[in-house]
């Protein structure tokens, strides 16, 4: 069974850290479909965090389709992470490279690009926004 860790200095919200650790475990093959995640009580006993945080992480994972909660039995992995299609990845890599080239030609330096990227990233991937 997976054992969660908590990094209090990373600035990442606790529930997100739990979600990310489940993702990493799935990618590394440490978790497979059918495995049971620790109960909220077990996580709390180990990490001394708010049980709502654990439940929120599990709900997020359930929304992502990775786990399913069976009442009275626990929360189980339902499938492994979808690997993104390499073709899709290379398509976006291409459009990103083109964009960077034109930005550089327009006179934007690395810090400008970084600032623009972060602003766009935040508004796109901020919680609750599609």
């Amino acid at each position: 069974m997976i054992e969660f860790q908590l990094d209090t200095t990373s600035g990442v919200a606790t529930y997100l850290q739990l979600v990310q650790q489940v993702h990493q475990a799935l990618q590394l093959g440490l978790l497979e479909p059918g495995d049971r995640l620790p109960t909220a009580q077990q996580v709390v006993a180990q990490l001394a965090i708010n049980p709502n945080t654990v439940l929120k992480a599990y709900r997020d994972l359930e929304r992502q389709g990775l786990v399913r909660a069976r009442p009275g039995q626990g929360t189980f992995i339902t499938r492994s992470l979808p690997r993104t299609d390499p073709a899709v990845q290379s398509r976006f890599l291409g459009s990103m490279t083109d964009w960077l080239r034109s930005a550089r030609a327009a006179g934007l330096g690395p810090d400008d690009v970084e600032a623009i990227y972060r602003t766009a990233f935040r508004s796109c991937f901020a919680e609750g926004v599609a």
Binding site: V44, A45, L47, A48, N50, S123, E127
Partner: protein
């Protein structure tokens, strides 16, 4: 949504001094609420008002829908752990549990005794000879064994060493996971609160400075750095919480529900630590600027 504590214009005055003023809160049930503030800000006053140890001078407060300490049933639904966890020094641990059983109809002996056993406390030991951490655990046992719907704790870990502190919080979170009660926990140590709280109230200068879900607060506060400019030049939707200036640069901590797109700013997220400190410094900053203090409602 049901609320565990609702306060409207709550205030408590001692002679000329207001220990708490204009306190309006609606704390949702099922959360672990952190109450932060410097010493003397009114945390203990607010919590004592919540459990009926004090009566308000102005305004009103309702806990689980009724005024505090209204009768034995209401008292049975709220558990309280006071600052410095007072216990009867001459009575033993077991005698404290008997007190709990005699004075609380909803007392669950099973919970109480299994907790004492798990904590490795000697039932015959006098409470006055327990260590600080053990006393805190005893006080917590007394508060939760009557199966309350809501648990109020006044700086329970302030005088404990780091290990005892972690153990206490772990114990508390296990109880919350098992019994599902609402918790209101006051502290001036922010690091502890980050782990366990999902709702935050900052008290400073005897007033509520901010109150809201931790995730929502972190998402809506940003630190903006850029060229030197005045706070009034910022759009109205961005409320300035804290500002600092050098001759060329200004940094603002703002609260806004809209995303910040202005390329003139470098936008950084705010940690809970910074957020709390900014709100805690607000009364002093407002006094210096002679500005009327705006209260933030979530």
């Amino acid at each position: 949504m049901s609320f565990v504590i609702e306060a409207r214009g709550l205030g408590k005055q001692y002679g000329r001094r207001w220990a708490l003023r204009d306190c309006t809160l609606a704390l949702p049930a099922g959360r672990v609420v952190g109450l932060v503030g410097p010493n003397g800000a009114g945390k203990t006053t607010l919590l004592h008002l919540t459990v009926g140890l004090l009566a308000p001078t102005s305004g009103s407060i309702r806990v689980l829908g009724t005024p505090p300490a209204e009768g034995p049933e209401q008292l049975g639904r709220v558990g309280f752990v006071a600052q410095d966890t007072p216990v009867y020094a001459r009575l033993s641990v077991a005698q404290h549990l008997r007190m709990g059983a005699w004075l609380n109809p909803s007392w669950d002996r099973q919970i109480a005794e299994s907790r004492i056993e798990k904590l490795d406390l000697d039932p015959r030991q006098r409470a006055g000879t327990l260590s600080g951490g053990q006393r805190a655990q005893l006080a917590l046992t007394l508060a939760i064994a009557k199966r309350p719907e809501c648990l109020i704790l006044d700086e329970p870990v302030a005088s404990l060493d780091p290990l005892a502190r972690r153990e206490f919080l772990r114990s508390l979170m296990e109880v919350v996971a098992a019994q599902g009660m609402s918790v209101v926990l006051s502290s001036h140590l922010i690091a502890d609160l980050e782990r366990v709280c999902d709702y935050l109230v900052v008290l400073a200068g005897s007033r509520v400075q901010v109150a809201g879900e931790v995730s929502e607060l972190l998402a809506s506060h940003h630190r903006l750095s850029g060229a030197r400019r005045d706070a009034s030049s910022l759009p109205a939707s961005q409320e300035v919480i804290e500002e600092s200036h050098t001759d060329k640069q200004s940094t603002f901590l703002v609260r806004t529900s809209d995303p910040v797109h202005d390329p003139a700013w470098t936008v950084r997220p705010v940690t809970l630590d910074d957020l709390v400190i900014a709100y805690m410094s607000r009364p002093a900053a407002c006094e210096r600027a002679h500005q009327p203090q705006l209260k933030v409602m979530s």
